[in-house]
């Protein structure tokens, strides 16, 4: 019988997901963890192909991430973007100077014909990252939000408008014509445990699930699928998840998360403050564990990753 820790596949977006990625990366040996990252937030800015979620996960695993913001490079400066501003150019997306180095090189390599998967592999290798970080696809998928201010591209909504517009609908433009990369398909095929990170279900996990075949592959997999709730006590740890769920008429709680993922989930880890929700969730045939889920320190991340793996082994093997 295969060990549940043999091949853990984690699906994530940016900052929150990266924290669990770091915890699992510390706990699992090389070869036992693959991280699939949302790329529907990717966009072209100042002529560069920017991949915010990929870089957040990469910097986090490389120990380079800014601990205050969760994204960008620790101690980074903003001289380039300030110079752009001096000329009257756009400054609403604050790319740091070190971060620009990443984006410059990625953009050049994409133009040379390398895939985002191959480029990410090379960049991560240079930073000494042991576990594969996979963009969900090598095709272009772009999140658009229909809001009370009209349709907005993801970064316009998220960064420029600070997620204040009211969202009616979310669209993943290009998803139907896109394909998950071969590496993503193989990772899911080999999965012994699938984990949805504490990322925004609507903006970070859904784009991955929207790729043709991915939802079906997860549903058909023998591997149990568990999620770490991004909602704690009715609020998102970070970002627009709670606000968005309310706007879309979804229960802003781990129950809403379980309902949203529908038939995919076998289990959910929710925070202790929500422990009274274990019962209604288990009534939906989804196992639930209440834990201290806020990950502030490195130790928090490792401890939570270990707990999730132990709990999954106890419940699903």
């Amino acid at each position: 019988m295969s060990d549940l820790r043999d091949h853990v596949v984690l699906l994530v977006g940016g900052v929150g997901g990266a924290k669990l990625a770091l915890g699992l990366a510390e706990v699992l040996p090389t070869g036992s963890l693959t991280i699939i990252v949302n790329t529907a937030d990717d966009f072209e800015h100042l002529g560069l192909h920017v991949s915010p979620d990929l870089d957040t996960v990469m910097y986090t695993l490389a120990g380079l991430a800014n601990p205050l913001t969760g994204w960008g490079v620790e101690g980074d400066t903003f001289r380039a973007i300030e110079m752009v501003g001096r000329y009257g150019g756009p400054t609403w997306f604050r790319l740091g100077d070190s971060d620009l180095g990443t984006n410059l090189l990625r953009t050049v390599m994409l133009r040379e014909g390398h895939t985002l998967t191959e480029i990410t592999r090379q960049l991560c290798g240079a930073l000494g990252i042991q576990h594969p970080i996979l963009p969900m696809t090598d095709h272009t998928v772009q999140t658009w939000l229909d809001t009370d201010q009209g349709p907005l591209a993801f970064q316009e909504y998220f960064v420029r408008e600070r997620w204040q517009p009211v969202v009616h609908r979310i669209r993943f433009v290009g998803a139907e014509e896109a394909r998950p990369s071969e590496a993503v398909h193989e990772a899911l095929e080999a999965a012994s445990l699938i984990v949805f990170g504490p990322s925004n279900p609507f903006l970070s996990i859904d784009p991955i699930l929207a790729l043709p075949g991915v939802r079906e592959q997860i549903a058909a997999s023998d591997a149990p699928c568990v999620a770490l709730s991004p909602i704690i006590g009715g609020e998102a740890v970070k970002g627009p998840a709670a606000k968005l769920m309310a706007e879309l008429g979804v229960d802003v709680s781990p129950v809403g998360i379980v309902t949203h993922y529908r038939d995919l989930l076998d289990g959910i880890i929710l925070d202790r403050v929500d422990s009274e929700l274990r019962q209604p969730i288990e009534a939906l045939n989804v196992r639930a564990m209440a834990e201290q889920t806020l990950m502030e320190t490195r130790e928090d991340k490792i401890r939570l990753a270990e707990k999730i793996l132990n709990w999954a082994e106890e419940n699903f093997e």
Copy 2:
């Protein structure tokens, strides 16, 4: 009769020429100076359109230039290029972080279809520069050097190989099909005085003269044409001019400069250490003035610019 100071047109490359450009910019009122800049050193690097000479002149006139190197932005950092290096990418061309801001915006604007002339006008305007800085052309011209190490593109020769290869021949690829911009043509048409800056005649001024019609326009102009010698006491103030002249079999002296520019020059300003060369130069029907030509301080630049204008007025009006 038109005043010789009415419309001075300065032809330059990078660092040396920028010094005289600053001097003239301080002495002449707005509307009386146009600076035409070599763009045959421009190249694509890390996906960016880099215009080293344009930026050197722009930063110098904006008071932003690094006083130690003459190029780049004072106090600039190199985080982006260091990050590129961390991934194993190319670091031989050291673009500073602020400088990257300029290059990012220029590249985006070029892709949007703006001309280099229009972009340079906008960037210079944002930096408060009063005098027009004109790229010599909106077309692509690229300096190539045939050397003992084979053919090298300009920046490979100049930066990567630190101008150590021996040069047999210099080619301005694309010059024959290029055209000077309309603004350059009009400036030369309106010129009351044409000045060749103390730039490398072979690498900085010749590309401008190689554009169809420019040499003819200068030769036919009523405006006197004077050069400031980049060679002092048999040596170049900076860069490969002296080494290159020797390799090409040209006399490494102001006499060699005069001979090189042939029929174009009416006068030359040479350094006091070369004052014994005034006579042989005047025998070639070119007026010569010996002056203290090293420009270290801001005051040096202003003083020399004033002297050149006064001398030209005395001799050519």
